[in-house]
Amino acid sequence: MKGQMFIVAALVMIITIVGLKDSLSLQKILENQRHLVSGFDSLEFQNIRSEMTRVVQNSFNSTSGMTDDLNNFNSFVKDSLQTKNIEFDSFLVELYYPVLQPSTNAVVNVTVLNSLGTEMKFLNITFNGTSGTFALSNGNILRTSFTINTAVSVNQTMNIFYNTSASSQTETVTVPLTLGSSKYVAFYDIRYINSGGQQSDKFTTVLTLV
């Protein structure tokens, strides 16, 4: 056997040792752990998401209560998570209309909460052919209203466009206008951010009050 063969055999052994090290795969174990942690974050996020919709359902006998409670609950969640170094950002649009009569004007009250951690330099809301343009600082609430008049029950779209120093967003909220009925519609854009990543969701809830 030539002497160089020992070197070649050593190289083969080194490759085998490296292969064994990789197959132990601490990385995979760590990845599994990260997956578990992420699953836990997701559970916490789902808890907040379901409670946000529950706030509105629990306050159904008071439309002003619904809006105030939802905004207060949002602050509660934000403060609670902040103590755990978790950032909770949200953008909420809540609207309410009284019992609709055919071809009769009705006022739709709209409340917008900016809790995204940044100022909305430009906020445009378009509903039923009418637009309103605003600016909304972080942590502030905008209250505005629109007039609607419909002869038949119809789904109306509310378009919301805003831009911040970081991004521009367009949101579309479908509002069912139902004659003989009063409804509360809430649009949520919620984001849960920690060192492990971000969980976010956008959803709408519709409550028939009458």
């Binding site: 002497g3 020992f6 040792i17 174990i29 916490e44 706030v55």
Partner: protein
């Protein structure tokens, strides 16, 4: 002379293998901590189950930590120490002797007609 070269090559080969082994395995492998995350998942799921069975919300609204503790006793692993705390704003963490403490918090917004947000926190240590 040929024998000396051959011996030198054998020594080099052995050294290569040894150095590689030492370099690859000298750093201690610290296994990740699965116990805490598993317990956190277990505690959170327990709170969620209690809530789904209407056994959490009212107790939390009445600041009744002992009822929640008793209910958790039947669900959580027997070898885990835990403490239930309920708070309405930023919660002050209790002081423990153990250095290995972890917690889960479950948020509730109140109940029908009663907006009263609270955090139910379960601290666990071994």
């Amino acid at each position: 002379m040929k024998g000396v070269t051959k011996t030198l090559e054998v020594v080099i080969a052995v050294l290569m293998v040894l150095i590689s082994y030492v370099l690859l395995y000298s750093a201690p492998i610290i296994p990740p901590d699965f116990q805490s995350i598993n317990l956190q998942l277990q505690a959170f799921n327990s709170l969620q189950t209690l809530d789904a069975n209407n056994e959490l919300r009212q107790a939390a609204l009445q600041n009744d930590t002992s009822t929640i503790s008793n209910k958790l006793a039947g669900i959580l692993s027997g070898n885990v120490n835990y403490l239930v705390s309920i708070c309405t704003s930023a919660c002050a963490a209790p002081v423990f002797n153990s250095t290995s403490i972890f917690s889960v918090s479950y948020i509730i917004s109140g109940d029908v007609g009663n907006f009263n947000p609270r955090q139910v926190i379960v601290y666990m240590w071994s």
